[in-house]
């Protein structure tokens, strides 16, 4: 009995330091000695619908019904498949700090979602939206280079590890310059156009957008992703988004083709067919 008690006591003593152990996760290294971010990753959240916290709603495009909003006619046939799933949002600290005139623009974007959201036309998604679209992406990291290839629209960006100076021209995916702060890859993204959105809810930015992303491995299959968003034309202050990125677990995980320009030809050009299919 005394023995049993003693072992229980020892167990308890051992257990305490184990439970209190909060040593940071030590990620495996690449040949260059940096944390290895290689792999196929994907966000699992509802941010692409709306980066702010939101309840489920009947559709992205709505019209007034006798007892509240109902799906707009062009998306009615989609039924529940066209509904918006609820989400906690990825924006830290509540609502987005829009300037008043920018908030009005966001509302206008929402009202015109079908014609205005660049995703509907298969345009390159920009940063950070590429990260949390519902498609996998692959980080390719060697000792001398880091690139991210996204399945959606075949978007791709090179992360310069040496600053080449100001971006010579604005682009959809911007110019990314990376450096390591401890075990975190910090990517500074500038030189983006004003043509991309943050989500399907009309949240937007100007060409003054400046994004600082932080990629930190927190376990074998998770990257903690944070992005600080700065755009003095649209927001009253910088704000931050954060989310986990998960490693795709399938043994045969790889990026496949999602060359969506082909899929939107009927939408964009169908009316100019010799024999239009009708709409």
């Amino acid at each position: 009995m005394g023995k049993t008690f003693r072992s229980a006591a020892i167990l308890a003593i051992v257990a305490v330091p184990l439970a209190a152990q909060t040593q940071p996760y030590k990620a495996p290294r690449t040949a260059g000695g940096k944390p290895d971010l290689n792999g196929i990753w994907q966000a699992i959240n509802e941010a692409n619908y709306d980066i702010e916290a939101h309840e489920a709603r009947p559709a992205m495009a709505l019209r007034p019904g006798p007892y509240g909003p109902v799906p707009a006619a062009p998306v009615l046939a989609l039924g529940a498949a066209g509904a918006v799933p609820p989400g906690f949002g990825i924006v830290e600290g509540g609502e987005l700090p829009y300037k008043p005139e920018a908030l009005a623009k966001r509302k206008e974007n929402q009202a015109n979602w079908l014609s205005a959201d660049p995703e509907i036309k298969c345009y390159l998604p920009g940063v950070p939206r590429a990260t949390y679209m519902p498609y996998p992406f692959q980080i390719l990291q060697s000792a001398s280079a880091i690139s991210i290839a996204y399945e959606y629209a075949g978007a791709v960006r090179n992360i310069f590890l040496k600053d080449p100076g100001p971006s010579p021209v604005d682009s959809w995916m911007g110019q990314s310059v990376g450096h390591w702060e401890g075990d975190t890859l910090v990517v500074d993204v500038k030189g983006m156009t004003d043509q991309t959105w943050f989500d399907r809810a009309g949240n937007f930015h100007s060409d003054a957008l400046h994004v600082v992303e932080r990629y930190t491995r927190t376990s074998a299959d998770v990257i903690s992703y944070e992005a600080t968003i700065e755009d003095a034309n649209v927001f009253t202050r910088p704000w931050k988004m954060s989310m986990p990125l998960y490693r795709r677990q399938e043994k045969n995980a790889q990026l496949l083709d999602f060359k969506c320009p082909e899929f939107v030809e009927e939408l964009l050009y169908g009316q100019w067919r010799k024999k239009p299919l009708g709409r």
């Binding site: 690449t30 001398s144 690139s147 090179n158 021209v169 959809w172 990026l255």
Partner: protein, 375 residues
């Protein structure tokens, strides 16, 4: 169609260029294996480090032009290269305000080089891009010290083998469906009927689905116009070959199995392995819309990437598709390292042309109908 016109035009005009160069030695020697003396830098896993940005631009065409031998003498190459340099300089010169109007119907004097033919085709006889917009090569490709007149090295005549009868019949049936190596646009007068009826009938590059001229590959070929840069990022399990034009990132999975046949890809499914210091990439599972040079979806491409010195990578490919060619055929050329930056080639995002081309065709039909009704 573009290609057929091209070879006709090239055959006609190149006879002129060939006349102007000095007599050539007998047929070129077969390609030798790259020099073994060079030891490439290695990645931590011991394989050659192929990483970097490469400029695929060259004036060596895929197929040898009539009258040339496989290997050009330095004098021959210099004559032809000099012609390109002078032609481009002339094109680049500031426009004189008091110049004469161009001839009615465009410049129809014979083109004297391969690039000149391509550029005139790209804009039609009234002209298209001037040199400001173009970034084509100025040099013939040099492989193992030889100045090469064609990328194709097997068959020895430097020409893609003739199509099998079955393939020829297929080609006729699909004449107006563009292939992955077709040009960006064609001479409107020579396009088959129906080419403007639907977006699906336009070249893949006009639809922003692939770069023109098989620039993404495989096989990755020079496009002879612009945006010829490719970047290789090499990790132990995946090697990315990024094509600047239409930002196609082909990711080669190392020591992996091919996808099931039911999953087809625009650039095929690429798996790789190392044979000594050479990266060997095996690609199958093409879509039936890729159709490189008229091939079927069963085309099989084997590419070999070898660093031959600090500034060059040798790219060699063998193509096999028994439904299209009786025998496999092989090409090779050198990819020089460049320090030029890769730009974002956002094509679809501002593709006003595709809609305008179709809209224009409908307008023309409307006008024709109105004119007929008025008679």
């Amino acid at each position: 169609m573009f290609r057929r016109f091209l070879s006709l035009a090239a055959a006609t005009v190149m006879a002129i260029a060939v006349v102007s160069v000095t007599a050539t030695p007998a047929a070129g020697q077969a390609a030798k294996a790259p020099s073994k003396s060079y030891t490439p830098p290695r990645t931590a896993d011991g394989h050659p480090d192929l990483q970097g940005t490469y400029d695929l631009a060259t004036i060596t065409p895929l197929e040898r032009l009539p009258g040339l031998t496989a290997v050009l003498t330095p004098q021959q190459a210099a004559t032809l290269e000099q012609y390109e340099i002078q032609r481009k300089a002339k094109d680049d010169a500031p426009i004189q305000g008091d110049r004469k109007a161009p001839p009615v119907g465009g410049d129809k004097t014979p083109a004297k080089s391969y690039l000149e033919v391509l550029e005139r085709l790209g804009g039609g006889p009234v002209g298209g891009y001037n040199q400001f917009w173009l970034d084509s090569g100025t040099r013939y490709t040099v492989v193992d010290g030889q100045i090469r007149s064609s990328i194709v090295v097997d068959p020895a005549d430097g020409k893609v083998p003739p199509l099998t009868d079955a393939a020829r019949k297929r080609q006729v049936a699909l004449l107006s469906i563009p292939t992955s190596d077709a040009g960006e646009s064609s001479n409107p007068g020579l396009e088959p009927g129906g080419s403007y009826d639907d977006p699906e009938r336009r070249p893949l590059s006009e639809r922003c689905l692939l770069g023109f001229g098989s620039t993404s590959g495989p096989p990755a070929l020079p496009d002879y116009f612009y945006n010829n840069l490719h970047q290789i990022v090499q990790t132990p399990n995946s090697i990315m070959i990024l094509t600047e034009m239409v930002h196609d990132a082909r990711i080669v999975r190392m020591n992996a199995q091919h996808l099931p046949k039911t999953i087809r890809r625009w650039l095929g499914d690429s798996v790789g392995h190392w044979e000594g210091d050479t990266l060997v990439v095996d690609t199958t599972n093409f879509t039936d819309k890729t159709r490189f040079h008229g091939a079927t979806e069963n085309m099989h491409v084997v590419e070999r990437f070898t660093r031959v010195d600090a500034k060059n990578l040798l790219y060699r490919f063998t193509i096999e598709d028994p439904d299209t060619w009786a025998k496999p055929w092989t090409g090779e050329y050198t990819w020089p390292v460049t320090d030029q930056p890769i730009y974002e080639y956002a094509c679809h995002e501002t593709n006003y042309a595709l809609g305008d081309v179709l809209r224009g065709a409908r307008s023309r039909e409307k006008e024709a109908a109105a004119a007929k009704a008025a008679k």
